[in-house]
Symmetry: C2
Subunit: 325 residues, 2 copies
Amino acid sequence: MTAKQEGRDNSGEVIALCGGVGGAKLALGLQHVLGDRLTVIVNVGDDFEHLGLRICPDLDTVLYTLSGLSDHSRGWGRAGETWQFMQALAELGGETWFSLGDRDLAVHVERTRRLRAGEALTDITGDLARRLGVRARVLPATDDVLQTKVLTSEGAFDFQRYFVKERCEPRISGVAFEGADGARISQAVSDAMGSDSLTGIVICPSNPYLSIDPILSIPPIQEGLRKRCVPAIAVSPIIAGKAVKGPTEKIMNELGVEPTSVAVARHYAGLIDGLVLDHKDAASVNELDLPAVVANTFMTDLDSRIKLAEVVLGFVAQLSTSGCR
Amino acid sequence: MTAKQEGRDNSGEVIALCGGVGGAKLALGLQHVLGDRLTVIVNVGDDFEHLGLRICPDLDTVLYTLSGLSDHSRGWGRAGETWQFMQALAELGGETWFSLGDRDLAVHVERTRRLRAGEALTDITGDLARRLGVRARVLPATDDVLQTKVLTSEGAFDFQRYFVKERCEPRISGVAFEGADGARISQAVSDAMGSDSLTGIVICPSNPYLSIDPILSIPPIQEGLRKRCVPAIAVSPIIAGKAVKGPTEKIMNELGVEPTSVAVARHYAGLIDGLVLDHKDAASVNELDLPAVVANTFMTDLDSRIKLAEVVLGFVAQLSTSGCR
């Protein structure tokens, strides 16, 4: 814990745990401040085989967001994307419920080819990130197969089928992470978590149940967080009882949890030392049994992402403690 | 041989053996006249795995040509094609020597997916042809693996690597068809060749060594042609000592064969009953030891393709004989 004891200066490394769009926005802000001192550990529970290709939705969202290639108005995929492939696929009777842009497709084809050739997802992701000009280290949470299954009134679904094909309509009764028990972390994730220069861990404002829990379900990551030697904080994805984007609020309701930042903090109990929540929820701070910071968590542009990242990093610095949990 | 004995009326079926661009032009003319009475048996020796996808260049050229989707000015691929995928792939450091258009890619991805799911290439091709509005039956010569290897001064190449990546530059010393000895024909090819309604077999003006020989190297097709009960004719791909397109002339020279229509006829000795050659080679007719028809074989537009098809079908009708070889 050398770096930690020497203080929260600009030389420290930070780990961000991240799902898709919402989390990636904060990761972009963090990258702006930290550059290559940021490691983003990304959910792979949504990864699936589609059209014979390995699709890694959260990894791609993070890569595209951190490289400045993401489409801001659509909210997913690449800016300036075209859809000739999908149109032609529809004419051939192919499955079209999951949209793959022509440029996006290059990532899926190249990654699938390299996976089949025996390369690890971590190495492929690192290479893609480098080629796309991403400064942060982007790491899949595991190279092993870990699949988020959404248990619903209409049966169990792979996450993307629930999310895209079923439009999150079936009522959720539970979530399972197949393969999590045996999932290992890569040397790169192990090194990042064990780094002497690590100064903090940030859980991005992603869906706790569907985007962050798959990461936390990996035993060495769970244990690493429980026994952390640096402060860990979460940024709540809930603002005034609603998720900025996606099904978080619906899922929390269906799982019998009130969609509030307080519930998010409780969900992460034992794993975090502080919560960042939106100023609209400032009144909730009194209900929390851990330190909190109120900020604007509704990130509409790069400036607001950087500002939130600065708040988050300042909070992490404040929470400095000596020794491990 | 009922149909044959009853004469060459419009109800008869015709088989065309076909490679890529040149052969597909005549196949389009034949389809115009014959509609669904045409069966095109297509070379698969050029098929290869690329980027984890099964690419079938000749099948696709035939499908795109017969469906009216092919690009006439470029000479390969689909009209109105875009190249976003290739550009994005280049940015990721992927292999870009073989150009895959965004729309074209849909065929490769969908076919590869279905092959991996256990479907036969014949069934997939039939379904794609139907969806693209192709009237003729398009059949791969075999569902088994048959690979054309070009033996050169610089080593052995898969055909597409020789053709596209090496631009046909290495000097050819021979051609081999790996897997041909054990290659079987599908029920559909067997049915077409054994049909009572079959009235003729046409070898399209494709490269005899690289596009037609792989088809003929399949034992039951070779035997079917040798023991044919209907006339078989070839249309020479050579006009005045030159190939309209592609490396036919270069290859014939390097294999020590003079690039002439006479040499083409000799190459098919025992397998054909007549040759159609260009009017520029009219003087060669005397050198042939089989019936010949002189025509315009330089197909610049749909009209010239239909006219050549009519000449070919008329010639087949003239060559009517009773009994099998």
